[in-house]
């Protein structure tokens, strides 16, 4: 009997957690972010107020020599706190993208992140995200890119394409960040030898480039 009561209380707590109204929403989107060779810069950012609303960041063109060139960057985030349903959704799109002097190019890059919280729980997704005419290392990509696809970029580092970073417990909170191109710049530090022994060469992260980022969350 006591055991059954405990189960009933736990079920009730879970139901309440899922049914309780969200306290905040969050959303953010931008076209590009560059942290490389001592330069840190970012295209206009759209940031959603925690109580909801709408924000837009856009520019006709954005470039950092040898790092990124893109046109028609538009970042949008919208959302609202409400009971029973709170939602946030963000989009980032840019066109005629060239990263690292053409190492990666795309006619269009689109990131979409969407989150909701309602009486049945919370969830997020990155549906709608994609590339148009993506070319990586000279190879044409003709199919949708699976989430978190890693591509080695010799002499540069590596890239995660369609990087998806979920957060939250799926009951009272949920979030999603999608970075369509996330380049991790690396350099090889040569190992050294001393009379005491040799240290191996080490790959060191030296910077990053993000192209097409959208995030959303409710909690």
């Amino acid at each position: 009997m006591t055991y059954l009561k405990l189960i009933a209380v736990l079920v009730g707590m879970v139901s309440l957690a899922g049914g309780a109204a969200a306290q905040t929403v969050n959303g953010k989107a931008f076209g590009t972010y560059v942290n490389a060779a001592g330069i840190t810069t970012q295209s206009p950012v759209a940031s959603l107020p925690s109580s909801g609303g709408m924000d837009v960041g856009s520019t006709d063109a954005f470039g950092v020599p040898s790092a990124i060139d893109a046109q028609f960057l538009k970042a949008i985030t919208t959302g609202a706190l409400d009971d029973p349903a709170s939602t946030a959704q963000s989009t980032s799109e840019l066109q005629n993208v060239s990263v690292l002097s053409g190492l990666i190019t795309a006619d269009a890059v689109t990131a979409v992140a969407s989150s909701y919280h309602n009486a049945s729980g919370a969830a997020s997704d990155a549906e709608g995200s994609g590339f148009a005419n993506l070319i990586v290392n000279g190879l044409v990509v003709t199919t949708d890119v699976a989430p978190n696809t890693r591509v080695t970029l010799p002499g540069v580092g590596y890239a995660i394409l369609n990087e998806q970073l979920p957060t939250g417990d799926g009951v009272s909170s949920s979030g999603m960040t999608v970075n369509m191109i996330h380049i991790y710049l690396q350099s090889l530090t040569q190992g050294t030898c001393t009379p005491l022994g040799c240290l191996p060469s080490v790959l060191t992260n030296t910077g990053e480039i993000i192209v097409g980022s959208a995030s959303s969350g409710v909690q």
Partner: protein, 215 residues
Amino acid sequence: MRKLETPTTLVACLLAATVVGACDRAATPFASEPPSFNIFPGESPACFRLTGGGRIDKPEPAVLMPQPKNTPDSRDFATFGFQARPIDCNVPNGSGQIEWVEHNPNAILGGFSFHASVNWFVEVQDHYGPTGNPKNGCGRFAGNDGRVQGRNGQTFENISFVVEHACDRGEPGVGRDHIRICLGTADGNSCEAGSAPYRRDGILTGGNIQKHKLS
């Protein structure tokens, strides 16, 4: 064709506005006078607000069902974000804003981005049937201060728009929620096929449209 409860006079020039250069003004594919907005039979002032953002690809099918994205070699899709509401419960005057991006280089102006504020908001019925929400109904909202920035370099100001319907059919919005927009119509109320220089609709392939209480 729907019948107006409040008839309006349309300027003949505007009826030909889809033909570039039809008027003596600067060549524009859009109507150049702000239209009036009306409440049609079956519609009513609303007591809710909408937020939304996401992506559409293929036109709305005859029967509501999830739609796939277009292929990765295609730029034939649109993305958007908006917040729209009546200024008060059961008042058709609205507020809010919308951003719409048409990516298709074969679309008008070679694709474009559009921004406008909302000044009209009413409730309409979902053409796919009851939405399943406790209170059925979609939003129809409009405005006439839009700015269109074409990918071909052309920019137009004071362009009207009407979101003929933005419908929340539950979560997640992908495969359920749907939206239709018209830009530059001479008759601000009309978003029927062939009535606007730009018209697009679809079931969401990304994002969400959410109906909220008016607060």
